[in-house]
C-alpha cells in the first residue's frame, strides 16, 4: 500500500465522520404504514375493476346471444323458405302431391283388366 493509498483511506474515514447523522422524524413510521396501505389498496381497486369488467362482458355476451336467437325463431314459421335447398324441397314435395292426387283422380278411369 502506497502513501497515497493510506491517505485516501484516512480521507474516507474522515468523510464517514463528516456525513451528518440522519435522525428519523416522528412521522417516519406512520408514513411507512400509509405508503404500505396505499400500495396495497391499488391491487384491490384493480381486482374490483376487473370483476366489474368481467361481469359486464358476460352480460353483454348473453344479451347479444339473445338478440341473435330471437330473429331466428321469428323467421322460422314464415312462408318463404330460408334456403335454396328448402325451396327446392318444398317445390318438389308440392309436385309429388299433385302427381299423387292426379293418379287418385284417374284411378277409376283405368279399365278393370289393367287394374292390379
Amino acid at each position: 500500500m502506497t502513501e497515497a493509498d493510506r491517505q485516501l483511506d484516512e480521507l474516507f474515514e474522515r468523510y464517514r465522520a463528516a456525513c451528518p447523522e440522519v435522525e428519523p422524524s416522528a412521522n417516519f413510521m406512520p408514513a411507512i404504514w400509509s405508503r404500505i396501505e396505499r400500495r396495497g389498496s391499488f391491487p384491490l381497486v384493480f381486482e374490483r375493476l376487473t370483476r366489474i369488467f368481467v361481469a359486464g362482458a358476460a352480460a353483454a355476451c348473453l344479451l347479444l346471444t339473445a338478440l341473435t336467437a330471437l330473429p331466428a325463431r321469428r323467421s322460422a314459421p314464415a312462408a318463404v323458405p330460408a334456403t335454396y335447398a328448402d325451396a327446392l324441397y318444398a317445390d318438389s314435395s308440392a309436385e309429388r302431391t299433385y302427381y299423387t292426387e292426379a293418379v287418385r283422380s284417374t284411378d277409376n278411369l283405368v279399365p278393370e283388366d289393367y287394374r292390379h
Binding site: 485516501l8 480521507l11 474516507f12 468523510y15 463528516a18 456525513c19 451528518p20 408514513a31 405508503r35
Partner: protein
C-alpha cells in the same frame, strides 16, 4: 445483526409489530447509508421509507433470516440507484442542496469551534464528492459501500449477487481512478 432472527421470521409471517421492531432497529443505519449514497439530506427520509415499504412487500421472499442484512442493503442500494436515476432525468445535481445545508448547519452552530468543525466537515464532504465524480454512479455506490460503509467483499457479493473476483476488479479500477484524482488534487494543492 441488530435484531434476533425470530423477529425477522415473525415479520416475514406478517406480524406488523415485529415489522415495526425491525424498522426501528435498522432505520438509523439505513438512513445513514442512504445519506452517504445520495448526498441530499432533504430526500433521505423519503428514500428510507421507500426502502422499508419495499422490504415489507419482499420479506416473504426471504429464504432465511441470516441473509436479512445483505437483503436490506440490496433494497437500499436499489432504492438509492432509482432515486439518483430519477434525479438525473429531472436534470438535478446530486449535491445541489449540500451547500445550503452546510450554511444552515454553520448558522445553527453555537460556538466558533463548532463552526470550524462544521466547515471542516463540509470541506471534506465536498472534496470526496468531487473525487467521486471521476467514477460512474454505479462505481461510486460500490466504492462508498466498501470504503465508507466498511462492508466486506463477502457482504458485497451477497448484495450484488456478483462473483467476488469481478467485484474486486471493479473496486480496484474505481479506486485507482479516485486515487489518480486525489493525487492530481494533491499536486495542485487543493487538499
Amino acid at each position: 445483526m441488530l435484531v434476533e432472527p425470530e423477529l425477522i421470521e415473525k415479520a416475514r409471517k406478517g406480524d406488523s409489530g415485529a415489522f415495526n421492531g425491525v424498522v426501528t432497529a435498522y432505520r438509523k443505519r439505513i438512513l445513514g447509508t442512504i445519506s452517504r449514497l445520495i448526498g441530499r439530506p432533504e430526500d433521505v427520509e423519503d428514500v428510507g421509507q421507500e426502502v422499508f415499504v419495499r422490504l415489507y412487500y419482499s420479506l416473504e421472499q426471504l429464504r432465511t433470516p441470516e441473509v436479512f442484512e445483505p437483503w436490506l442493503y440490496r433494497l437500499t442500494v436499489n432504492a438509492c440507484y432509482d432515486y439518483l436515476r430519477r434525479l438525473k432525468r429531472r436534470g438535478e445535481s446530486r449535491m445541489s442542496d449540500l451547500s445550503e445545508q452546510q450554511v444552515l448547519m454553520a448558522d445553527s452552530a453555537a460556538g466558533s469551534k463548532r463552526q470550524d468543525e462544521e466547515s471542516e466537515k463540509g470541506r471534506v464532504r465536498e472534496f470526496v464528492d468531487a473525487l467521486f465524480q471521476h467514477v460512474s454512479e454505479e462505481d461510486r455506490l460500490l466504492l462508498t459501500l466498501k470504503e465508507v460503509e466498511g462492508l466486506s467483499l463477502k457482504e458485497l457479493e451477497q448484495i450484488y449477487g456478483v462473483n467476488e473476483n469481478a467485484l474486486k476488479v471493479r473496486l480496484f479500477r474505481a479506486r485507482q481512478r479516485v486515487l489518480k484524482a486525489y493525487n492530481t488534487a494533491s499536486a495542485e494543492g487543493k487538499l
